[in-house]
């Protein structure tokens, strides 16, 4: 080695490493908000780099919205549109807000399998022996997945407009619908993170997730109005938070009165996050 001195020599106990920022030294034990945000940034960058090195991992986000909208609009569009008192175009208006809700669920499911895979790797041991808040590893993952959800939503909306979707509400209504879907999606991600940390294999996570998500997605107002469903099913769909979300997004985008569906969706999102996020972080902390 040359004379470019590598300060490898470990410092005696009591002094910190090579000059971490002042804030870090002052707040040795606790992790301040700014440090926390910096850590989340560094970890989110890791997740982004992983995507960059494995572009195929974006296929779901890029193709899912296209496949779903084409499939549903052309297979069910005619008949459901007719029952809505219109045609296929009316179904596009009905479907797109629902698909926004659905994609949030599917990406959340991918978070569960991804977490299961990722968290069995050695690098997690490194994160857990570092002076960072353990939640930052999970939050970074959610931040990046929300970014992926936004890309999927953008493609969905583009496809929707291409297939004749009309926006009767304001742009703010549209943005509100997107934000609402993202908020609810983030809450659901905590559930799947917990599932991913708890179950042994990614396949098990996926199997369980499908089993739960299929009835929730189809037993809702995402794809079709619920009026023609039998009473017992309507009772279920009325309480299904996905119905709330789909109805709220629909009303916001079409400029119709939202009723209390927005509040119900936000309440569900808040409730799920308050319960699931601490559980997931605790699980991550304890995972041996």
């Amino acid at each position: 080695m040359s004379s470019t001195t590598t300060t490898l020599t470990p410092t005696p106990a009591g002094s910190a490493g090579p000059a971490p920022s002042k804030a870090a030294v002052a707040e040795e034990g606790r992790i301040g908000l700014r440090a926390n945000l910096r850590h989340i940034g560094a970890l989110a960058r890791r997740n982004l780099l992983q995507i960059k090195k494995d572009p195929e991992s974006m296929f779901d986000v890029l193709l899912m919205p296209i496949v779903f909208i084409v499939l549903f609009v052309y297979v069910f569009g005619g008949s459901v549109g007719a029952s809505l008192g219109g045609n296929r175009h009316d179904y596009v208006n009905y479907l797109v807000p629902g698909l926004m809700a659905m994609m949030g669920m599917n990406i959340a499911m991918a978070v569960g399998t991804g977490v299961n895979d990722d968290f069995r790797k050695g690098v997690m041991d490194r994160f857990r022996t570092m002076p960072i808040a353990r939640s930052s590893v999970l939050i970074a993952k959610i931040v990046v997945e929300l970014g992926r959800l936004m890309i999927a939503t953008l493609i969905l909306l583009t496809m929707g407009f291409a297939l004749g979707m009309e926006l009767n509400g304001s742009v703010f209504g549209l943005l509100g619908a997107v934000a609402l879907a993202a908020t609810f999606g983030a809450a659901i991600m905590w559930i799947f993170i917990l599932l991913g940390l708890t179950m042994k294999t990614a396949q098990a996570v996926q199997g369980t997730a499908m089993l739960v998500l299929m009835p929730l997605q189809f037993g809702s107002s995402i794809f079709a109005p619920t009026q023609t469903m039998p009473g017992w099913l309507q009772a279920f769909t009325d309480y299904n938070p996905l119905s709330n979300l789909a109805d709220a997004a629909r009303a916001l985008m079409q400029g119709k009165p939202v009723g209390d569906s927005v509040w119900w969706t936000l309440a569900w999102a808040a409730g799920i996050t308050v319960v699931m996020a601490p559980l997931a972080v605790a699980k991550f902390r304890k995972k041996a």
Partner: protein, 340 residues
């Protein structure tokens, strides 16, 4: 329990960087750690030697805050493992038997990320990554994904990653398990350099050779308990005796020589052992008289000797003497120890 020395507990100069008292961790019926006491003095290397499942990894995971002990306590770099985990994490580095770097990221990206997580400003994190890659001879591979690294490169990157925050205590958990001999030497060289520069290291290993190479102080652990501790030489002396290595001019005479020694009753308790592959005859020696008698006998019988040497017993023999267990647990090509 072979207690070879009282370790000095002066907290100041030359005090203990690691102090473990009565550490217990049970997994159901399995007592992974069953009351472990140990000390590592600042600036020294303590080798923790034991077979698979002895509790070495559990010990390291407790000391690096990955798992919480059931009882007992441990202080590392002045911070309690259970009560002050965050302060502690700023002071330690861990390199396990599984590479703890992100496989998809490049070596440089891994080191930069860790620097940022340790609150280094961007510029410093970049400089530190470059510096450590050069130090660990990884500059050429800096931009390649770790997935493509060889086992030795990965382990070196792991060491580099552990050094970013200049930790005051470094845990090396079986740093060469699963590596080929050449790569193992590379890692040893790096560890020896870090030690020469003053690192406090707690090294676990199941290889006698590794413990001998890297550590002067040893703690032998088995089934979650410390069964011996002391200097490498002390532990060897404890077993008593030396081994006489004899190389005959004609390897074909090995068996005849062994028989002659046996017949004369000069082969001690363990028996003379001819190893044709090495062309060597091993004779356990308990006294200078026995040594003289063996050489004298071989001369009288007209054997021609090419080389004679005495050696302290190997650590395998030491372990055998302490536990009475088969030392073969060690020489097996290292299957991984369960994370528990």
């Amino acid at each position: 329990m072979v207690d070879m020395e009282r370790i000095d507990r002066n907290p100041r100069n030359g005090g203990n960087a690691v102090e473990v008292r009565g550490l217990v961790k049970h997994y159901g019926e399995t007592k992974a750690l069953d009351g472990v006491d140990l000390d590592v003095r600042e600036g020294t290397v303590l080798g923790v030697l034991g077979p698979n499942g002895a509790g070495k990894t559990t010990l390291v995971r407790c000391l690096s805050t990955l798992i919480t002990p059931d009882a007992g306590h441990a202080v590392v770099a002045g911070f309690d493992v259970v009560k002050q985990p965050r302060e502690l994490r700023r002071r330690i580095g861990l390199t396990g038997q599984y590479a703890s770097v992100d496989e998809k990221l490049s070596g440089w990206e891994n080191l930069y990320m860790i620097g940022r997580l340790l609150d280094l400003p961007r510029k410093q994190a970049r400089a530190r990554a470059d510096e450590l890659l050069e130090r660990f001879s990884l500059t050429d591979a800096a931009k390649r994904a770790c997935m493509e690294y060889s086992g030795g490169m990965r382990r070196r990157l792991d060491l580099a990653a552990s050094m970013i925050g200049s930790p005051s205590v470094l845990y090396l958990d079986e740093p060469t398990t699963g590596l080929d001999p050449r790569t193992r030497n590379e890692v040893w060289d790096e560890v020896q350099r870090m030690v020469a520069e003053g690192a406090t290291v707690l090294l676990t290993t199941q290889y006698m050779e590794e413990a001998e190479q890297l550590a002067k102080e040893l703690t032998v652990i088995d089934k979650g308990k410390i069964i011996a501790r002391g200097g490498v030489d002390e532990l060897k002396a404890k077993v008593g005796g030396r081994t006489l290595h004899i190389r005959p001019s004609d390897p074909a005479e090995l068996a005849a020589m062994a028989q002659a020694i046996r017949e004369a009753g000069l082969d001690g308790v363990a028996g003379a052992q001819a190893v044709p592959d090495e062309g060597l005859l091993y004779v356990p020696i308990l006294s200078d008289e026995q040594l003289t008698a063996v050489i004298g006998l071989l001369g009288v019988r007209g054997f021609s000797l090419a080389h004679v040497a005495t050696a302290l017993p190997s650590l395998d023999e030491v372990f055998l003497a302490i536990t009475g267990d088969k030392a073969s647990t060690f020489s097996d090509a290292a299957p991984q120890e369960a994370a528990a």
